[in-house]
């Protein structure tokens, strides 16, 4: 009965219950030497212990004088001052000698005798004098409490007489990974085993937020052992306990039940995607968060629950809501399952005038969607979602400057676009290339919609035997474009090692379980053309209807035994240790609208196609030929 009120709690309510249970007051201070205080947070206001400067000092190299004694000096009637009595030599930083109140720069003085100088203009009191307390006066507030210490703050603290700083103790977090299927990253996983890395991510999030984290050994799915591990962790009096669920319901359920036994279960499931099965509880005074096993859920739980709590303990006011945001135009319709706030990972790029948000894979298991994300778009629960072409608010992971320097490549997926991205990042630091595989036709359509700068395309015109020209004319009518060859690529069949089903040509396909590419992919066009030429009906091929979006996904289907054969470029077979049955070579071009030719990143991409080192690296890949790489095939 009670569980009904614990499940599917809205995000704000769940966070409120956590903060209420944790009651996160700023932690007490500890004294550290200034050399260790960078990045720590002041626990108390810092008042000046001494003034700075702590005496009136000369601001120049020259002579200290009494200003009143210089009256009447002119160019034509210089005034003579006796050294040692009326004028005293001082260097910058020297205290003003008693009886003086101004400094004359050495350049403005003539030494006329061993014991005398001449000046040609009077000076006003306090000229070239740094007055005591000019920077800080004793007792003055220099830094408030709850301030993250920067390099200049260290200088100011030292300058006003402090050698130590009172900084907030780091909140201490103990992380318990659970799940019998989990192994450490140093081990090689067998089927059914999963590399446990959520603890690595959560620990890093804690450190990034100014906390300290200890990770225990992995606890298998055994209620008693998990209970023992939780009690052992509590004995160390952490500020926060994180129990990282494995992927199965078992480890989640044990956590909730143990929290209920030892303390209070406050939330069991939050209405947010990804991240649903979050558990929140308190055992004694220690708050506990049960973190879901799917990595995207785990990372977002860290951002939404753990990091804001640490910020409170440090006296900082940083929640995920405080990240910089921007408005962007979504390239696809985004909806949210009713009742859940949905955090959609997006990549961002400026194409022409518009800042575009392209949604990434929404699976909670796809950690690369977070790695590749430039930000999170929040689709609110009970909202009707956002249509393609509408504005959506994005919480930024990267600076807008990085995003402005991003080249967006779409279209046919080629693994060597990664190689291009890597060269771009190294050769032009700050430049960035994002790529999305949507097939060759999809890429041209994206260019027409102004959703990308460059499309990769290898579309065979089955009537002329030419690549790409007629498709560009069809899909980009009236748009001036340049077609530059990226590479020639070898196409073929992916089969298991030893080619157990004896696939040698298209006529063999009806005998095997096939995995296909999606409609609009260049490889699909090639397949359909070849089947048509040979009069082979697609319906005769088992698996023809199963579509994958990339060469590697096709290769993965074959490697796992889900299919016996697929079609793609040679590099896909190499990636997964498959055998490759060559069919022939095709030309893969980059299609670039003239409107984007002056984008610096696009220019760098074009320059790389003529770069000897990049061409050598590309040509060294099996299945790639660079004989026409960089050649302009068309410029309309």
């Amino acid at each position: 009965m009670r569980d009904i009120y614990l499940e599917d709690i809205p995000l704000d309510e769940a966070r409120a219950r956590l903060l209420n249970a944790a009651n996160p007051q700023p932690l007490p201070g500890e004294s550290v030497p200034l050399s260790e205080a960078l990045g720590r947070v002041t626990a108390e206001p810092i008042f000046a212990a001494i003034s700075s400067p702590h005496y009136h000092s000369s601001a120049m190299d020259g002579y200290a004088v009494q200003a009143q004694a210089t009256t009447g000096a002119t160019e034509t009637r210089p005034l003579r001052l006796a050294l040692g009595t009326q004028a005293q030599p001082v260097n910058t930083g020297d205290p003003l000698p008693a009886g003086t109140n101004a400094v004359i720069m050495i350049e403005d003085v003539q030494q006329v005798a061993d014991d005398a100088i001449e000046i040609r203009a009077p000076v006003v009191p306090y000229q070239h004098v740094r007055l005591m307390g000019e920077d800080m006066v004793a007792t003055e507030l220099v830094l408030p409490a709850n301030h993250r210490i920067r390099p200049v703050d260290l200088g100011a603290m030292a300058g006003c007489g402090h050698a130590q700083a009172s900084v907030r103790r780091r909140p201490r977090v103990i992380i318990i990974p659970t799940g019998s299927e989990l192994i450490a990253p140093t081990e090689r996983p067998a089927p059914g085993q999963i590399v446990e890395y959520n603890s690595l991510m959560l620990r890093a999030q804690v450190i990034e937020s100014g906390g300290a984290a200890d990770v225990t050994a992995i606890v298998p799915d055994d209620r008693d052992r998990l209970r023992t591990a939780i009690q052992a962790a509590l004995a160390e009096q952490p500020d926060l306990l994180l129990v990282l669920s494995g992927s199965s319901a078992g480890s989640r359920d044990f956590t909730a039940s143990i929290v209920r036994e030892l303390g209070e279960l406050l939330v069991h499931g939050v209405a947010v995607r990804p991240g649903h099965p979050v558990i929140i509880g308190a055992i004694g005074s220690v708050p506990l968060i049960g973190v879901p096993g799917y990595p995207v859920s785990a990372a977002l739980t860290g951002e939404l629950f753990v990091q804001p709590l640490l910020a409170r303990w440090l006296g900082l006011d940083a929640t995920v809501e405080d990240q910089p945001r921007t408005q962007a135009i979504t390239t696809r319709k985004l909806t949210s399952p009713t009742g859940d706030d949905d955090f959609v990972r997006v990549t961002l790029a400026r194409v022409g005038e518009r800042l575009l948000a392209a949604p990434l894979n929404r699976g909670a298991g796809v950690i690369t969607s977070l790695v590749r994300a430039d930000g999170l778009a929040l689709i609110l629960r009970f909202s009707e979602g956002v249509d393609a072409g509408q504005a959506v608010e994005v919480r930024l992971y990267h600076s807008l400057r990085t995003i402005e320097r991003t080249v967006a490549v779409v279209g046919s997926h080629d693994p060597m676009i990664d190689l291009l991205a890597q060269f771009l990042a190294v050769r032009y630091p700050g430049d960035r290339l994002t790529s999305a595989g949507v097939g060759s036709v999809g890429g041209l359509v994206a260019l027409r919609r102004q959703e990308a700068h460059i499309a990769g395309s290898h579309l065979l015109d089955t009537e002329t035997g030419e690549y790409n020209f007629s498709y560009v004319a069809k899909y980009l009518p009236g748009i001036a474009v340049r077609l530059i060859t990226f590479a020639h690529r070898e196409q073929g069949f992916y089969v298991q090692p030893g080619n157990p089903h004896g696939v040698h040509n298209f006529g063999d396909l009806p005998r095997v379980r096939f995995v296909n590419r999606q409609r609009g992919a260049g490889t699909r066009v090639l397949l359909d053309y070849e089947l048509g030429q040979r009069g082979i009906a697609p319906e005769s091929i088992a698996g023809y209807e199963r579509e994958e979006n990339t060469h590697l996904a096709v290769a993965a289907a074959v490697a796992s035994g889900m299919a016996d054969c697929g079609m793609g470029v040679r590099s896909g077979a190499l990636a997964l240790g498959l055998e490759f049955v060559a069919i022939g070579w095709e030309r893969y071009d980059l299609v670039i609208p003239h409107a984007h030719l002056d984008h610096p990143g696009v220019q760098h991409v074009i320059a790389l196609l003529d770069d000897a080192e990049f061409r050598a690296a590309l040509g060294a890949q099996p299945g790639y030929d660079t004989r026409e790489t960089g050649t302009i095939q068309l410029d309309t």
Copy 2:
């Protein structure tokens, strides 16, 4: 002769010479465990070593089946599947058993016998299946080179089979502080001694930028000893050597001459303020930067020269130019000495619709101007400067969000405004209060110009004996304001301990050297009123014309012996150990235009005036009375 071409080099040219000499190629990689890789920079692209998932796995708890075998199941005609053969129980993450290609969620199944289940709908192939490589396929690019590693990146690397990462070696910097007048922060300085903290700041800047820094002992102004120290540092083969000049010309000149002797001097003076006497050279293959002694110059040299160089070594493209920027309206005219790029520190606040930039003290010795700065406005060399009310570009040190939450207080300076700032930061994390002392009248004028949210005022109407009302009517005509009392304060004379000149009342002032407050300050109004009442001519008071802008500056002038007497609130005397001769009590009000009453920070300030803890802290200060604190004196 040669020096002519080394002096006053423009900033861009000086930086080009440094980069040319340092030739900063990205440093080689070193392998570290993932647990130590947070924040480091990838030295090589990271490719997936294994696919993730590395097998087809169940995405749900339920039963694995062959999809084709479920055809025909309906609500009315459920299909029975034999357990163990046709349906096999799986947990989330389990590998799909051989012969199955879909998973039915446990919720959608009825167990009808020990060895059988029933389903009421068919399933499609791959339903609730995470396909091998869904996240990453072996050989796929996961992270490019030159990427700063974040928590999610650690997860992705571990997930695709890496336990170590190849990250760029940290650039190693040796810092040599020089100057006979310098002492460590742990020592208490005597007059003429200066606490050396530039090494603390520069080291922190190096660490912040991902480098490692060693600081040597302070080297006195002795050419041979400095030469020995430089050679000893070179023997350790650092990537960069920083020689921090003391304040005198001596230490600067030694550095330049030693660089000339041992290597090549490339720059001796850069046309940038603050920061003029920057030295750049190279000894063998090691670049050397001679950092000016004034702390603001030193910190800016770190930002403009050191940090960009470190970024290059790490393969990152971060220079000070890449910081986020904003446009703001300057509140004062800003000009630059011809020939120098001038970096003016400013505070920022949003007042009404406008984002305002208020310039801070431009002295190179005022480190607090950097501590308090929200950003830098660059006034270009040879430009005509920027008039008050014009837009200026500001490189941001803080997020715009912090700035949006800033309450700008101007007007009469009271040290207890610091106390208010401190309570505000603690009680309302994220709120911030900046204050600028421009005198009571100056504060009212700033309110009229919409340059601040709140003005502090203690202006005595000498005809009515009332405080502030008539001045508000005069300086803020037609503007609805609320006047709330901050505190009553005790005014008096600051004199040296023991009151050696016997100052007891205004009649004693003509006998002593006085230091005054600026025109428009409430204390100045009070002084002029009292002098007029007594028929004392201002000209009869020595030092009447010497004006300081704050109570503490007046107190400092007396404490240092520059003056015998000044006038101010009691707290100023306490700050510097002066004797205080009480004159009487005055009312200090906060003046708040109605237009700013809905600003959340302003509301928090008003709430604090009624906060028992704040009132107690304020009332405990000698010279403050809180009997009317929080009382609304006027609401027009």
